[in-house]
Each structure stands twice: as structure tokens, then as C-alpha cells.
């Protein structure tokens, strides 16, 4: 068993909601509410969920671009949540991020060369020749050319810009890359190119990815393991193939039933969830999903289900699988639902 590269325990982010002239705190938006997972070196962990479920916030919390309200993040044996500002900046050379919007994540007033040089400069590579050489090298690695370095971001297409974003993340030889919806702003034809590039780079540099996306098929394509988030919590986490073939949580089942299948003859029972996703400022008591769950029981309204391992590497947070509810023969219901 390999030591995990990244270990997240009970990570929380509560945004205070202020109201009135005095700005008094009138409650909290629980964007991320007790998320725990581990990432092994060299693997890709996918995080999926609807918009507003806290997946992007989780990514930003890991890098401490947002300060967590609680919980612990351990990276490579160091507890990130306990580091001071300066130490944290240094750790960032090992954790890099690829952003969603390739149009917004590059400074429009800097040339590509300057954008790519900056991580090196910040982390103390003093020799300008060496920096230029490395910029050219990485431009070629991501499928662009060295002469592109004198151009500006607006002279590139979306896919090319995302390649530049990836090159920037690679400049400091990081161990972990957090990719926050890296392909969702791109055309489908470009998406696969960028995904394949990311996979090639993973093999070449031994990278570990956390891949955040709302696109289930993209996540399946690239991830070794997948975590499903709902209202700031992980409701299910499993190996990618297993999750897609045998989802346990009713929410995962509903999500997967909504993925279009490229076969017009294929008939499948689609699980349509009732209602909207509840506001994270006022989540339902008990299981956050119970207000929309087709299998809800009494216990779901009062008790929060914990993420427990059902089979090796497959954990789910649902009372259908907990000891208290086992006797009710509810498991049968779920198996029917998953068909």
C-alpha cells in the first residue's frame, strides 16, 4: 500500500452570511462541510457534482487559495493547514492548478513567455537564459512552439490557451495538479485533445491529478477513482469503473442515469430527482440528500450518514447501507433502482 500523497480530513469551508448595516453574521453557507479523502501518488481522483456542490471550493481549499474553516490537509507528509503564509507559498511549487476558463486565467497584458516564466521567477530561478530555455521546452511539450512565447493570450484559440495554462502548471515540476474544470469551456473536439495531453503528461512526469468536473463522461475517461459531491459533502467514492457500473448512492444513481448514451435503441429508466438542490446556507437536517431522495427513510431526516466503506475502496454515505437500517431490507430497493 502506497502512502497517500494528499490526505484530506474533515475539510470545511463555511462562508459567513452578513446582513444589516452592522454586518452581523446571520448564518453560514456551508460550501464544503466535512470532506475527507486521500489521493495516492500517480493516480487521478475525479470529483464530480452539480454546480454549487462545493467541488471547486474544495480544490481552492486544498491550495489554501481560500482559508479552510476547519479540517486538515496533509500533503507529502506536511500539514498544509498549519503552514504560515511564506511556507505555503513555497509548497505551491509542488501543487499547481489548471483553471476552468482559458480566457480569464492568463493575464491579457503579458506575453506567453512572461506568463510561463513567472512561476520560475517566483520560485527563484535567477538565470534568464535558463528560464527562456525552459519556457520553450514546455511550450513544445504541450504541443505549441517556442516562437509562440512572444505572443499575447488573445492571439490563441481556447484549446491553445488551455495548453498554455497546463504548461504554466508544469513549469515548477509539481507533484500534484488540481484541474478545476479544465475542459468544460472548450469544444468537444478540443476537449479530447486536452484530456489526452493531460494523460500523456501524467505518464511522462508521474503527475498526480485531482480532476474537478461536472461532466461525468470526461471524469470517467480520465479518473482512476471518482468522488461524488453533493451539498458540500462526499456522498460516494469508488474506483471509476466500479462507480459507473455499480453506483450505490441514490444520488450517484440519478446522476449516472442522466448521462446520454450514444445508442438510440437503448431504453433506460431515467431517475428524475424531485425539487431543486437545497441552498447550502440552509441544508436539510440529517442526510443532505433526503429532501430529493426516492428511498428516504425516517432516519435520513434526523441523522447525517457517515461515509463508510462498503467494499474495498468503495465508500458511500447513505443510511441504506448503515447498520441501523440494514434490517429494513432497503438494499433490495436500491438494487432495483440502479437498473
Amino acid at each position: 500500500m502506497k502512502e497517500p500523497l494528499l490526505k484530506v480530513e474533515g475539510l470545511k469551508k463555511h462562508f459567513p452570511v452578513r446582513k444589516g448595516a452592522l454586518g452581523r453574521v446571520k448564518g453560514h453557507v456551508k460550501a464544503v462541510d466535512g470532506v475527507s479523502f486521500e489521493v495516492l501518488p500517480g493516480e487521478t481522483l475525479g470529483i464530480v457534482g452539480e454546480s454549487g456542490c462545493g467541488k471547486s471550493t474544495t480544490g481552492r481549499l486544498l491550495m489554501r487559495l481560500l482559508e479552510p474553516s476547519g479540517g486538515k490537509v496533509t500533503f507529502d507528509g506536511r500539514e498544509l493547514t498549519a503552514l504560515g503564509g511564506d511556507e505555503m507559498r513555497k509548497v505551491r511549487r509542488d501543487i499547481q492548478m489548471v483553471f476552468q476558463d482559458p480566457y480569464a486565467s492568463l493575464n491579457p497584458r503579458h506575453t506567453i513567455g512572461k506568463i510561463l516564466e513567472e512561476p520560475l521567477l517566483v520560485h527563484g530561478m535567477k538565470d534568464p537564459k535558463e528560464r527562456k530555455r525552459k519556457v520553450r521546452e514546455f511550450l513544445e511539450i504541450v504541443g505549441l512552439s517556442g516562437y509562440h512565447s512572444s505572443r499575447y493570450p488573445h492571439q490563441f484559440s481556447g484549446g491553445q490557451r488551455q495548453r498554455i495554462g497546463i504548461a504554466r502548471a508544469l513549469m515548477t515540476n509539481p507533484k500534484l495538479i488540481i484541474a478545476d474544470e479544465p475542459v468544460s469551456a472548450l469544444d468537444v473536439s478540443i476537449q479530447s485533445q486536452v484530456l489526452n495531453l493531460m494523460q500523456d503528461l501524467q505518464r511522462e512526469f508521474g503527475l498526480t491529478y485531482i480532476f474537478i468536473s461536472h461532466d461525468l463522461s470526461v471524469v470517467r475517461h480520465i479518473s482512476d477513482r471518482v468522488a461524488v459531491m453533493y451539498l458540500g459533502r462526499i456522498v460516494e467514492i469508488a474506483e471509476s469503473d466500479r462507480l459507473y457500473e455499480m453506483p450505490l448512492h441514490p444520488y450517484t444513481q440519478a446522476l449516472l442515469s442522466a448521462v446520454p448514451v450514444p445508442d438510440p435503441g437503448f431504453v433506460r429508466e431515467q431517475i428524475v430527482l424531485e425539487g431543486d438542490i437545497p441552498s447550502p446556507a440552509d441544508p436539510p437536517p440529517g442526510c443532505p440528500f433526503h429532501s430529493r431522495c426516492p428511498f428516504r427513510m425516517d432516519i435520513c431526516k434526523s441523522k447525517v450518514p457517515l461515509l463508510t466503506e462498503q467494499e474495498t475502496g468503495h465508500s458511500v454515505a447513505c443510511h441504506l447501507y448503515t447498520e441501523e437500517a440494514r434490517g429494513d431490507d432497503n438494499k433490495k430497493l436500491v438494487t432495483e433502482g440502479s437498473l
Partner: protein
């Protein structure tokens, strides 16, 4: 390095990469009014530099036998109540007005940008203190505030300049603050933080250059206002002191002869008007060229 430049690109000859400033210049060039404005400004700038060389007379060469003479071949703009050549004084005055205009605005931009960028980037109580300070300053009519400042410091051209700089600080401060507030939400700032960049570098290498476009526009327009304000202070006797050929002061001195010798007032007035017009046209053109919303 030279390798990258000389590298042949099949099918696509390497063009000089057009930076954002270069593109703005291309846009600016298209507007005739803006170019006209820029030409006027350029003319006055040249006058300010070479004025003493081309002016027919000095600023204070009195000739009481030629008092209040109408414009003629000898004195194109006529003479004033001391028999001084008005053309010469107007030319010399360009240096004073532009000096006050430029330096007061540069002062306001530097102080305002610094305060605005700190308020916008750090937010919270820092922002509250700086913003309330701006609000207090803006609560006074600006010329009244300028008069108050000059009264405290004592009337002189230099103090008028300081007063004008001070009263314009909140305008630039608020402008920068709002721009910083929007830019710091942009993803490339998050990206810069994610790289591990220090706050100071983010502020001066990323946020400041990206918030400069509206400041340049506002700055150009503010030079015009500053010249007017300097003239107003001069007119009130709080700015340049005699015999300095400051345009506002010249207007003030001429007001007794308005009926009999209107040229004593018309030409300094025209000079003020032209300069202000030039800066305003240029500022409008710059705004159109730099405003990203106007771009396709």
C-alpha cells in the same frame, strides 16, 4: 533567444506580436477628433518647451507708452495695461499651465493609485478607512477645498499645484479601487496566487498594469480640469503671483479693461479653452481606444 525569433514558420510569417497598448494606439489613430486633440496638446507642449525662444518679448517687458493697444502687426494679440505683449505672455503661460496640469495630475495619480489599490486589494477595515476618507474629501466642493488648502499653505503657484493634486486624489483613488475590486476576482490573479506569488508582485505586476487604462483616460481629462482649477485659483489671486504670466491670473488682471480692451481677456481665455479642448478630445479618444467594451 535569437533562435526563437529567426526560426522560420512555414506558411505563417512571424508578425511582430501586437500588444494591448499597440492595439489601443491603432484604435486611437482612427478617431479624427482624438488626433486633433492630441495635435493641440502637442502644440502646447512644444510651446511650453520652446516658448521662451520664440516669444517676441519677455514676460515682464513693460512699455507704458503702448498700454492696452489693440492687436496689430507689431503686437498680434495686443498689449495689456502695462504695455506688455500679450502674445508673449500667453506663450510663456503655456509652460505654467501645463506644468500645473501635468504635475498635479501625476501627484493625484500616484497617491490615489496607491491608496485605491491598497483599499481594493486588502478590503475590510483598510478599505473602510480609505474609502470614508475619500467620501469626506468628496463631500466638499472641490474648488472650496482647494481654496482652503491654499489659504492654509499661503498663495503661490506651487501651493496651488499641491491643492489641486490633493483635491483630485479621491477621484483616482475610487477609480482604481473599483477597478482593482473587479480585477482581483479574475482568474489570472487566482492563478498568480496559485503559482506562489507574493502579494506585492501580484499588486504591481498584475493588478496595477491591468487597472491603468481608465486612469490614463481619467488622467488626460483631469489635466484639463486641473488647468481650469489653476486658472480659477490664479483668478482669485491664490495661484501664481504677479508678474507670472499664468492664464487665469491674466484673466483676472484684465477684467477691469473688459469693455475697452477685450483682447486682454480674449487671448488668455482662448488659450485656456484650446488646451482644455485638446485634452478633452484626446481623453475621449483614449477612452474609446482603451475601453475593452468598445472592442468587438
Amino acid at each position: 533567444m535569437s533562435e526563437a525569433v529567426t526560426q522560420p514558420v512555414p506558411g505563417a510569417p512571424e508578425e511582430k506580436a501586437a500588444g494591448p497598448w499597440r492595439e489601443a494606439w491603432t484604435g486611437f489613430r482612427k478617431s479624427k477628433a482624438a488626433l486633433f486633440g492630441a495635435a493641440i496638446v502637442l502644440m502646447f507642449v512644444v510651446l511650453a518647451f520652446v516658448g521662451p525662444l520664440i516669444a517676441p518679448e519677455g514676460i515682464n517687458e513693460q512699455d507704458m507708452s503702448k498700454r492696452l493697444m489693440a492687436p496689430s502687426a507689431e503686437h498680434w494679440f495686443g498689449t495689456d495695461d502695462f504695455g506688455r505683449d500679450i502674445l508673449s505672455r500667453v506663450i510663456h503661460g503655456a509652460r505654467i499651465s501645463l506644468w500645473v496640469g501635468f504635475f498635479s495630475v501625476i501627484g493625484s495619480v500616484i497617491v490615489g493609485s496607491l491608496l485605491g489599490i491598497i483599499a481594493g486589494y486588502y478590503g475590510r477595515w483598510v478599505d473602510t478607512i480609505i474609502s470614508r476618507l475619500f467620501d469626506i474629501m468628496l463631500a466638499f466642493p472641490s474648488i472650496l477645498l482647494a481654496i482652503a488648502i491654499v489659504s492654509v499653505l499661503g498663495p503661490s503657484l506651487q501651493n496651488a499645484l499641491i491643492a489641486i493634486a490633493v483635491i483630485n486624489v479621491p477621484n483616482f483613488g475610487r477609480l482604481i479601487r473599483s477597478k482593482v475590486l473587479s480585477i482581483k476576482q479574475d482568474e489570472y490573479i487566482t492563478a498568480a496566487k496559485a503559482i506562489g506569488m507574493k502579494d506585492s508582485r501580484i499588486l504591481f505586476s498584475h493588478i496595477l498594469p491591468n487597472s491603468m487604462a481608465p486612469v490614463i483616460v481619467q488622467g488626460t481629462l483631469a489635466v484639463a480640469t486641473a488647468i481650469l482649477e489653476a486658472a480659477a485659483l490664479g483668478f482669485l489671486g491664490l495661484g501664481a503671483q504677479a508678474p507670472a504670466p499664468e492664464w487665469g491670473k491674466m484673466l483676472s488682471d484684465a477684467r477691469n479693461y473688459l469693455r475697452d480692451a477685450p483682447w486682454t481677456m480674449i487671448f488668455p481665455g482662448l488659450a485656456i479653452m484650446l488646451t482644455v479642448l485638446g485634452f478633452n478630445l484626446m481623453g475621449d479618444g483614449l477612452r474609446d481606444a482603451l475601453d475593452p467594451k468598445m472592442k468587438s
